[in-house]
């Protein structure tokens, strides 16, 4: 059974095994059994518990009684107004007239029925768009799409980008986009690590994926490093990346590499049939934007390969040594790759080791001068602290020493961190505090009411934040969301504390639930415009797999929506990249031993489409 299938089964049968008491378990099950059949063993356990627990039995009876009382309300509503249809049809006609789409009541169709006139010219315009040639527009409109409320599995009306999903009728494809490059690391057919990059110039509507041939990089470069990459973060200003990997001892190691400089081949698709040029993007189409500007590597910005003794508290320095990159050997799953003749040398230098990287929030600062992350000692002796590496320094250093802090996001050139409020009860649900922290000095500025792990958009106006309690996992070290919700709200670091009674100041948009359902680890990232964001939620049972959704935000109103074709709750490995008009992620390995695929979804002002790669082993998307 594939990991995906296992994950899907686990999601369906999601269980909580960390009951604080048998009574809690019994009361939850008593509520659940009204809507679903419990597993036989769980049902038997519940019956046995209820037989011996008067309080729980009373609550279980109350659930049944409440249900009956609720159903008694069936007869308590009023009939709708008699003129409801007249009002509705008149409103449609007024709306149509306001859009200049014709006179009301125009007879048409075989039935001769009085027709209502369409109201949204934009929508009808969208329907006939064959090919959208344009620049990457990051604040697109997608008029007429109802706003979303919370994420879950794809609703029937908004299929995720999933080739296996129910497909609507086809529309013309492909869609030309001006999205930025997508970079990834993967293992080639000989087991060698390789770095690939590809431009994204055209995508296909989600119902037309077969029309877009898989993308690949014919100039993939072999990379030799002494660790297996788990996550990779590209500098926004230089052609270098921070790599979080696992060394031979199984410990995490964080090191910096200069990315290979082979020229990317934008928009190259794997030839589906005989003519490899058929699927290539015309050179005159919207030119792809390099995802980082990709200047030549600045050697001086890399840390010294022989760092001085570490000033950090717990990690030890163990440079990974040099890494080399060279062209890859063609792989069975990479059709006809061209081999670049000259290998590129790169250097991999550890900036911290002996630690375990915590969470998915690590990120470069917007100016590329810093890299922040959360880590704790690999021996699990203490909890996490926030680390920062100044580009060019030999080592990263911890900014906090309380062993309970986590890096949340960058707010301009300041860092945001969060920590739980201390409690004598290590397992209790507690509130959390967040703070600004200066990467130079480590000086903290407490924030009022900022919730847990606020992720600020690049404009500094909005934040995705966990609002609620947090708790420690069973390991006593990892802090996870407990009771609350992941919400969107305005980011006002100097504002007075939000009231806790549910009343919000009138000048603050009411927070919007972004996520529904249980989760522990999550990763939220914005694109550069602050109009697009993606949310990845780790599977409760297997945090190595999660669900990814792409959302569009109207920064003026705080309205979240999801354009048709945008991924919603699609299975994704940790680590996605969102920027320059596209999002990229890796799917879990497929059944039958097939590797993961890079999925790329790009958007314009009017359309969203996707394309995927050929199967790739051990793939890691460069963020």
């Amino acid at each position: 059974m594939s990991r995906l299938s296992r994950a899907a089964r686990r999601r369906v049968g999601r269980e909580r095994h960390d009951w604080s008491s048998a009574h809690e378990r019994a009361r939850l099950r008593a509520a659940e059994r009204l809507d679903t059949s419990l597993e036989p063993t769980e049902a038997a356990w519940l019956q046995e518990h209820l037989a011996g627990c008067d309080a729980c039995r009373s609550i279980a009876d109350a659930y049944e009684a409440d249900r009956l009382a609720l159903r008694d309300l069936r007869g308590t509503t009023l009939p709708p107004p008699r003129d409801l249809w007249a009002r509705t049809s008149a409103a449609i006609e007024r709306d149509a007239a306001a859009h200049g789409l014709g006179q009301p009541g125009t007879p048409s169709g075989a039935s001769g029925r009085t027709r209502r006139l369409p109201a949204l010219g934009v929508l009808s315009g969208m329907a006939v768009i064959a090919v959208v040639v344009g620049i990457s527009v990051i604040s697109g409109g997608f008029l007429g799409q109802p706003p979303i409320t919370a994420l879950g599995q794809p609703p029937a009306t908004q299929p995720a980008v999933d080739p296996g999903s129910s497909l609507p009728p086809p529309r013309p494809t492909p869609i030309a986009v001006g999205a930025g490059n997508v970079d990834w690391f993967g293992t080639d057919g000989q087991g060698n690590l390789a770095y690939s990059t590809t431009g994204v110039r055209e995508v296909c509507a989600h119902d037309q994926r077969p029309d877009c041939a898989p993308v690949f990089d014919p100039n993939a470069r072999r990379v030799s490093i002494d660790a297996r990459p788990k996550s990779i973060f590209r500098s926004p200003v230089e052609n270098q990346a921070v790599v979080v990997g696992t060394d031979a001892a199984g410990d995490d190691v964080v090191f910096v590499i200069a990315l290979p400089t082979a020229d990317p081949t934008p928009g190259v698709s794997a030839p589906p049939t005989t003519d490899p040029t058929e699927s290539a993007t015309p050179p005159t189409a919207s030119p792809a934007t390099q995802s980082s500007g990709t200047p030549a590597p600045t050697r001086s910005s890399l840390p010294s390969s022989t760092p001085p003794p570490t000033p950090t508290a717990s990690p030890t320095d163990s440079p990974s040594g040099p890494a080399t990159t060279e062209p890859t050997t063609p792989t069975p799953s990479s059709p006809d790759p061209m081999v670049s003749p000259e290998p590129t040398m790169a250097t991999a230098v550890a900036i911290v080791s002996g630690v375990r990287i915590v969470g998915q929030s690590a990120a470069y600062s917007p100016d590329g001068a810093w890299f922040a992350f959360t880590a704790r000692p690999s021996d699990d002796s203490v909890g996490p602290d926030i680390y920062v590496w100044r580009v060019g320094d030999a080592l990263a250093r911890p900014l906090t020493t309380d062993h309970a802090s986590v890096f949340a996001s960058w707010a301009g050139l300041q860092m945001l961190g969060s920590r739980p409020v201390s409690s004598d009860d290590a397992t209790a649900e507690v509130q959390s505090t967040s703070f600004l922290i200066d990467p130079h000095s480590g000086m903290e500025t407490p924030l009022a009411g900022a919730g847990w792990r606020p992720v600020i958009d690049p404009t500094g106006q909005w934040a995705i934040v966990w609002e609620g309690t947090v708790r420690r996992e069973a390991d006593g070290l990892t802090t996870v969301p407990a009771t609350g919700a992941l919400i969107l709200r305005r980011f006002q670091p100097t504002a007075v504390p939000y009231p806790t009674d549910g009343a919000y100041p009138t000048d603050v948009a009411y927070p919007t639930d972004v996520v529904d359902g249980e989760f522990r680890e999550y990763d939220v990232r914005w694109d550069q415009s602050g109009s697009w964001l993606a949310v990845w939620l780790a599977d409760m049972s297997d945090p190595a797999i999660g669900r990814l959704s792409l959302l569009h935000l109207d920064p003026a109103t705080g309205t979240l929506d999801q354009p048709p074709g945008a991924p919603r709750d699609v299975a994704a490995l940790p680590g996605f990249s969102i920027s320059d008009g596209r999002i990229a992620w890796a799917t879990p390995p497929g059944q039958g031993g097939e590797g993961s695929r890079i999925q790329i979804v790009a958007w314009t002002a009017d359309a969203v489409g996707g394309v995927e790669s050929v199967p790739i082993e051990d793939v890691v998307v460069v963020r």
Binding site: P80, A91, S108, A119, P146, Q153
Partner: protein, 192 residues
């Protein structure tokens, strides 16, 4: 559906949809908002949205859940808007207008402890309970209407039942306390 927005098809479609479902959609919105006139306005909005977004419906057999999804979003948008814009209850005398018979009936219907408890639980939980228990949506339909996964919908429903039980208990305790106070205030001992 054709996948292309066609005004003729959309017009015919929304007429049929209205004929079949306007009663239950209005009832759902009334239960969510507890104001008859507002519920009518929102029902109107929901059908207009259905008309405009007719081409997003993939399978005609899902039309009911799809319509509930639209109505649910309309309701949540209104609730959210009312949280942004504070509405203060009118506490003065109404001049020249008596409560309508409609409002009197509705007030009577909404004054029970169950209705008050429902009004106190989070709106998404309230929606889940109403749709599942009063509007008979199946698990799949409920998930589609709420715009969440089947698992998430079930979890939401469980939380809703827990919240409702607590809210009902609080309502009944407050009722009992008020009754006790009323009894004490009118007891013979007090008037001696």
């Amino acid at each position: 559906m054709s996948g292309v927005w066609d005004r003729d098809e959309a017009g015919a479609f929304v007429e049929t949809l209205f004929a079949r479902h306007h009663g239950e959609i209005y009832a759902y919105l009334l239960r969510m908002l507890r104001e008859p006139e507002l519920a009518a306005d929102l029902a109107q909005d929901a059908f207009i949205k259905a008309y405009k977004n007719y081409d997003t419906l993939e399978k005609p057999e899902n039309a009911r859940a799809w319509l509930y999804q639209i109505a649910h979003r309309v309701a949540l948008d209104e609730i959210r808007r009312r949280k942004i814009i504070r509405f203060f209850p009118w506490t003065g005398e109404s001049h020249g207008s008596a409560p309508s018979a409609e409002h009197l009936v509705m007030d009577a219907n909404l004054s029970g402890d169950m209705q008050r408890a429902l009004a106190q639980i989070p709106e998404r939980q309230r929606a889940a309970l109403l749709l599942a228990e009063l509007h008979d949506l199946t698990g799949v339909e409920l998930a589609a209407a709420l715009g969440v996964s089947h698992v998430a919908a079930r979890a939401l429903l469980t939380r809703a039942r827990q919240s409702l039980r607590q809210a009902l208990a609080a309502e009944r305790a407050a009722e009992a306390e008020a009754e006790a106070n009323h009894t004490a205030a009118h007891s013979p001992e007090r008037h001696r």
